[in-house]
């Protein structure tokens, strides 16, 4: 028995324990190397955890992600020079999706940017955070300070009962109910200062919670004492985001893909699409106008055999694309995948074939999300 799976394994670096390492092990988690850390892949099983999150609420430890605070004189124009974001429309506390791009418009990372009173709070991917910090340091002026908030932990509480569970535990200047999808504010959570936003990576309603690492075990205990909540591992995090049609950096987009190919036009804010002035703007503005030769699409597969990352996509004899993420959808009871395919074969409903171990599987281009989002957008 040998796993084919290639994880985001950072070689040659010693694996570091995260603040909740002992907490995960005490709850029976199976720990695996991921993004340079030992992280819980599962507790009771991926499907059970996946279903629990869709039906109740799951607590995810995402403390491997990079939390940065960017501040200083001229921070706004400096950030707009490295990100295709429009900060003039970014309200205090509301996280917004953005992209770190190279000079050719290739994706170096995707990230969340939130305006705080003294600067900007960024959440970047764990596997890329050191490269991101180096990139930002190189491209931001000296007056702008980058603080790596490595004494902060990050939790995500996701699922239809996340609000009910969390509301019991928080107090603040505003009620938790005042947060709609993609809004955030400061709260006390179990007596601890926490920054909470209504956001996540599962397609469900839910929250992301930044708090001091020294308090995270006590807060995680408190949250998991709520009857709606169980801890959820990375395995279900991946199957949930796949069903939600959310791309994973390093797989669904990389320095070799542009955000327009990846369907991430919303990550290029409107004013920037005409004004430019960010890395790779020339290519990206051209691609917005002229289209791209390939597009990122969702695929639904017939049968039960999943197609994984790297599987090739065909029309007849001709190769037209490659799978970038794929697996078995517990909610749909069928395999689903994401792939780059030639644009002429990217329309929803197009019949394609995916090759897995020499076998051709019938696949249909499907709109994403595969499972509808249930974000709390307010009335």
């Amino acid at each position: 028995m040998t796993d084919h799976d290639a994880e985001d394994f950072v070689e040659d670096l010693p694996l570091e324990p995260l603040p909740l390492d002992a907490w995960h092990r005490a709850r029976g988690a199976r720990m695996v190397p991921f993004a340079g850390y030992e992280m819980p892949i599962q507790y009771e099983g991926i499907v059970a955890e996946h279903t629990w999150t869709r039906e109740s609420a799951g607590l995810f430890d995402v403390s491997h992600m990079g939390q940065l605070f960017i501040s200083g004189e001229g921070v706004e124009p400096a950030l707009e020079a490295v990100l295709p974001i429009d900060l003039t429309t970014l309200k205090h506390g509301a996280p917004r999706y953005s992209l770190l791009l190279d000079a050719n418009g290739g994706v170096l990372d995707d990230l969340m940017v939130t305006r705080w009173s003294e600067g900007f709070y960024l959440v970047v991917n764990g596997a890329t955070k050191w490269d991101d910090i180096a990139h930002l340091r190189e491209h931001l002026p000296d007056e702008v300070t980058i603080s790596h908030m490595d004494d902060s932990a990050l939790l995500a509480l996701q699922g239809p009962k996340a609000f009910a569970a969390l509301e019991r535990l928080v107090s603040g200047d505003t009620p938790l109910a005042s947060l709609t999808f993609m809004k955030g504010a400061a709260f006390k959570l179990g007596g601890v200062d926490a920054w909470i936003s209504r956001s996540g990576y599962t397609g469900e309603d839910g929250f992301e919670i930044s708090l001091p690492a020294e308090n995270v075990a006590a807060v995680a205990d408190l949250i998991c004492e709520q009857p709606e909540v169980k801890p959820i591992g990375l395995g279900a995090r991946d199957s949930l985001r796949l069903e939600a049609g959310l791309p994973l950096y390093g797989h669904d987009m990389t320095p070799d893909t542009s955000p327009i190919e990846a369907g991430l036009l919303f990550g290029i804010n409107k004013r920037r699409r005409t004004e430019g002035g960010f890395p790779g703007a020339e290519r990206i503005i051209r691609e917005i106008a002229e289209g791209t030769t390939r597009k990122w699409v969702g695929l639904k597969l017939e049968g039960r055999l999943p197609a994984r990352e790297g599987a090739e996509v065909f029309v007849g004899e001709g190769k037209v694309g490659t799978v970038t993420s794929g697996g078995f959808s517990p909610t749909l009871g069928a395999p689903i995948a994401m792939a780059y395919v030639a644009s002429e074969h990217a329309a929803p409903g197009t019949q394609l074939e995916v090759e897995v171990r020499g076998k051709r599987l019938a696949a249909t281009v499907s709109p994403t999300p595969f499972v509808p989002h249930r974000y709390h957008r307010g009335n």
């Binding site: 028995m1 796993d3 084919h4 991926i46 499907v47 395995g235 199957s239 055999l305 999943p306």
Partner: protein, 122 residues
């Protein structure tokens, strides 16, 4: 007589045929199994070569032939319900039956106690 391999397969030998599956430990490591790709009946497979593929929600894993032989039967129930490998790995969740082309290969496999000690050493 039941034998075990260090790749976490079991073989139940009856006469000149062996029934092959993966162990309870193996299914626990793999997690929720969603698909099992079985060999063709009639295929001759050498010991240690790919015989089957198990797909869990997360990953695909190879299952190797524990001995050399010809595949005589595959478990038709796994097509309908691959989760049998999780619920009854050493029983209804068997993978395939094969002939025993080189009986001496069995001598190098573990018995139940030997496998138990092996798993505990992991």
């Amino acid at each position: 007589m039941r034998y075990y391999t260090d790749e976490h397969e079991w073989l139940e030998v009856e006469g000149d045929t062996a029934t092959v599956g993966i162990t309870d430990y193996a299914q626990g490591q793999l997690g929720d199994i969603v698909f099992v790709e079985l060999p063709e009946v009639g295929a001759m497979i050498e010991q240690g070569k790919d015989a089957a593929v198990v797909e869990s929600v997360k990953a695909a894993s190879d299952v190797y032939a524990p001995i050399t032989g010809e595949i005589t039967e595959v478990n038709p129930a796994l097509e309908e319900d691959p989760s049998l490998v999780n619920s009854a790995p050493e029983d209804a969740g068997w993978f395939f039956k094969m002939t025993i082309a080189a009986p001496a290969e069995l001598d190098k496999l573990m018995d139940e106690d030997g496998y138990k000690a092996f798993v505990e050493s992991l």
